[in-house]
């Protein structure tokens, strides 16, 4: 077996798994399709229930991943093909199972080893497009770095936004670059690797479909999803943490949060609960109130699901200390008015219809699996459920094992969950990889010992060698 692991996805779970394996002395190839690592956690303002600054607790990890001698980080890359090597056709001649992986690395058009991230290129770039990292609330240039804390700290040229690469139409960024890091001729490359284990940590996206139509999500600037609101709250976000609404940059004084936007809605959305929304909506309410003390928050909820250490207390804090009005009922409609948006809902505890003229509406949109999940599952022979979440082999007893030997699962690709759960799962998946490697290594040593023994009673020899190998394996575990 090749004692290297492949981790697909470099959000918090992929990073945690990669670090655990790399710290144990094994090599990891970490593949991320975005230009920078950190996933959605990098976009968050604060985390619940501690209100830690998300960037502050994440950045040490991203930096460690970027610098770790045992981690080979491939950004802007996708796994395109996986070939299983079965026990009898192992390429090392020893007949060990593993995977032969082809990874497509898309061109960055900026040399990672040369770029100093000075930003001279972006200053001269004439193209302005929405910044994905800020969920479109701010603009970026065609050559850009997703965020100031991005790892790798390297610019990237977006070939779709650029005025033209083939033939070159502009060329200003290369002229401005003093270290000659820009290479317009960079091509996609296929990297081939052999690995002994794979962890899938492809994460989630937010539902933006049908059910959201009634909430004007697609059409009104003052209706946004939770991740957009995170960017508004974030000190490194487009407003520097100031709460202003997109339509006219006024401070919104009446803010409506709609939980279960698309979740728990078998008719028009997804039937499952997205699990983290009750908590992050309470967090949004608290953080908003801290920034706009004279503002009023309304939260429409179906019921509060705050299972977790300190979670219930956190929601109570939003209600009691920050005067958030929780209304049990669903919103039927959100529509534009002259000034902003009208929200219609029902308070099922009083049986009354509720109308709120809101300055800003924030949807706690349903979590759905990353769009790549089905393709990756198919490539690796892993099962997905009807929504595209990976199925564990046994959800109770082997929650991070996929059912395919050597392929493990972690993070929100398995289903909606919060950061602590995701991190714990990632460490669990990493531990599974380590035990797979060490068991195989112990077996290898046992076989070698057998081969070298030439004389005497073979049965006795084999037994004693087996015992030695077992104690050897134990000591390796202790060392790790």
């Amino acid at each position: 077996m090749n004692y290297r692991a492949l981790v697909i996805g470099a959000g918090i779970s992929g990073m945690q798994a990669a670090l655990d394996i790399a710290d144990s002395g094994y090599e990891v190839i970490l593949v991320e399709k975005e230009p920078a690592i950190g996933g959605h956690m990098a976009q968050l303002s604060e985390t619940f229930p501690t209100l830690d600054c998300s960037q502050c607790i994440l950045t040490p990890r991203t930096v460690e991943v970027g610098q770790h001698p045992n981690i080979e980080l491939l950004t802007l890359s996708e796994v395109v093909e996986v070939e299983r090597i079965s026990a009898d056709q192992g390429d090392d001649g020893e007949g060990q199972p593993g995977f032969h992986v082809r990874i497509k690395r898309h061109p960055r058009y900026v040399r990672e080893d040369t770029c100093t991230a000075c930003g001279d290129c972006a200053e001269v770039c004439p193209v302005v497009v929405p910044n994905e990292f800020d969920r479109g609330l701010a603009a970026r240039r065609a050559i850009y770095i997703p965020s100031p804390q991005a790892v790798p700290a390297v610019y990237r040229l977006d070939p779709d936004a650029c005025l033209g690469l083939f033939p070159l139409a502009c060329g200003k960024c290369a002229e401005a670059c003093e270290v000659n890091a820009i290479d317009y001729d960079m091509q996609a490359e296929i990297i081939e690797e052999d690995v002994g284990a794979i962890i899938i940590a492809t994460g989630y996206e937010l539902y933006q479909d049908e059910a959201i139509v009634a909430y004007e999500y697609m059409s009104h600037p003052n209706v946004m999803d939770g991740l957009e609101f995170e960017r508004l709250l974030s000190a490194t976000g487009p407003t520097g943490g100031k709460i202003i609404r997109p339509s006219d940059r006024k401070v919104p004084k009446e803010v409506v949060f709609i939980q279960c936007a698309g979740s728990r809605n078998p008719e028009h959305g997804v039937p499952y609960c997205s699990k983290i929304c009750c908590m992050y909506t309470a967090k949004h309410a608290i953080l908003y109130k801290h920034r706009v003390p004279d503002g009023q928050v309304y939260v429409f909820y179906m019921d509060i699901r705050a299972g977790g250490k300190g979670y219930e207390e956190f929601v109570n804090r939003a209600m009691e200390e920050d005067d958030t009005v929780y209304i049990r009922g669903r919103v039927s409609k959100v529509f534009p008015t002259d000034d902003s948006v009208m929200v219609w809902g029902v308070d099922t505890l009083t049986g009354r219809k509720v109308e709120i003229a809101a300055d800003l509406v924030v949807l706690a949109s349903a979590i759905i699996p990353s769009s790549a999940s089905r393709q990756i599952a198919q490539m690796l022979g892993v099962e997905v459920d009807e929504f595209g979440f990976y199925n564990a082999d046994d959800a109770e007893m082997t929650p991070v094992e996929s059912g395919v030997p050597g392929v493990f699962l972690a993070g929100t690709g398995l289903g909606p969950q919060d950061i602590p759960e995701t991190v714990a799962q990632a460490s669990g998946a990493a531990a599974k990889v380590l035990s797979r490697f060490q068991a195989a290594q112990a077996e290898e040593r046992a076989r070698e010992a057998l081969d070298t023994s030439s004389s005497g009673d073979e049965t006795v020899e084999a037994n004693s060698v087996g015992a030695a190998a077992r104690s050897d394996a134990l000591s390796v575990t202790e060392a790790a």
């Binding site: 009634a214 028009h268 409609k333």
Partner: protein
């Protein structure tokens, strides 16, 4: 080719102008409405109790009459449409119920008449725009510049699983019609809100207050007229405008059946329009269109 037609009670009494304009439009477009030779009230509400076979007798008898005339039946009234379409859907999945009703009525309804709203025939058989026979091509007097607020109400669209005519949250079938007639559809947030329906009889203040919201919203969004496909919606939006604050000069909005607007656009004779039966007289609003050659 003619299409079997179930007018229903309201279109034979209070909403004759809907019936008259609908027949004229159908005739002009080449699918004359052939009234079922024998029919009675559809019951006007779809029974919500699962075992209420009694309330299904009336709609089943209408479907049986339609079966004698062809494989489909059309109606203009949203309420009749809702009752017939849902009854048909229920009989389609509940054979036992069908047998029970047939046993009682001593008629053999076979259970496969398609109930099509008039709008569905316009959309699927005639087509809005494009083809040489499409509605847009038949317009003789394009309603250019007229801002029309399509009001859908509830029964034309809901429940989607059984009605399936259009998206109940974000419908566009009347918008498409308005566009084909050369007018401009006006989107307003109340276009799928309830008008109060039968509460006009028992609790008239409820529909009056709902109507006020609906009409004021349509006006604020720039509408010249409201169109609807339901006689009860038409009444509930039109009638209260006589007496509420909305009735101040210049603040009224006429409420038309979509067929009336079509009759004007297709250049049909004035006697088919039926504008004299409205509380808010549509004629001044349509004057500039009607006077144009």
């Amino acid at each position: 080719m003619g299409i079997p037609y179930f007018p229903g009670c309201t279109l034979s009494t209070k909403a004759k102008n809907y019936d008259r304009s609908g027949r004229a439009v159908a005739e002009a477009l080449g699918f004359p409405l052939e009234e079922l030779p024998e029919w009675q009230c559809c019951g006007a509400t779809f029974p919500l109790m699962l075992d209420d076979s009694m309330a299904l007798i009336a709609p089943t008898r209408i479907l049986y009459q339609a079966q004698q005339a062809g494989d489909r039946v059309t109606t203009l009234c949203s309420i009749c449409f809702n009752v017939l379409r849902r009854s048909q859907a229920l009989l389609d999945r509940d054979e036992e119920m069908l047998d029970r009703i047939n046993w009682f009525t001593e008629e053999e309804y076979e259970g496969d008449v398609h109930v099509a709203h008039f709008l569905e025939i316009l959309r699927d058989d005639v087509g809005w725009e494009g083809g040489p026979e499409s509605l847009a091509e038949r317009v003789k007097r394009p309603l250019t510049g007229l801002k029309v607020a399509p009001y859908y109400g509830c029964l034309l669209l809901r429940p989607f699983e059984e009605i399936g005519l259009d998206d109940p949250e974000d419908p566009h079938i009347l918008h498409d019609l308005v566009r084909a007639l050369g007018a401009e559809p006006v989107d307003f947030p109340y276009n799928v809100e309830c008008c109060g329906s039968y509460l006009i009889v028992k609790e008239p203040d409820v529909p009056k207050s709902l109507a006020k919201d609906i009409v004021v919203s349509a006006r604020e969004h720039g509408a010249d007229v409201i169109i609807t496909a339901c006689p009860l919606c038409q009444f509930n939006l039109d009638y209260p405008q006589r007496e509420t604050k909305m009735s101040r000069a210049g603040e009224q909005l006429p409420v038309l059946y979509f067929t009336q607007l079509m009759a004007v656009a297709l250049g049909l004779p004035e006697e088919t329009w039926g504008f004299e039966d409205h509380y808010v007289d549509p004629r001044p609003f349509l004057a500039r269109v009607a006077n144009s050659p």
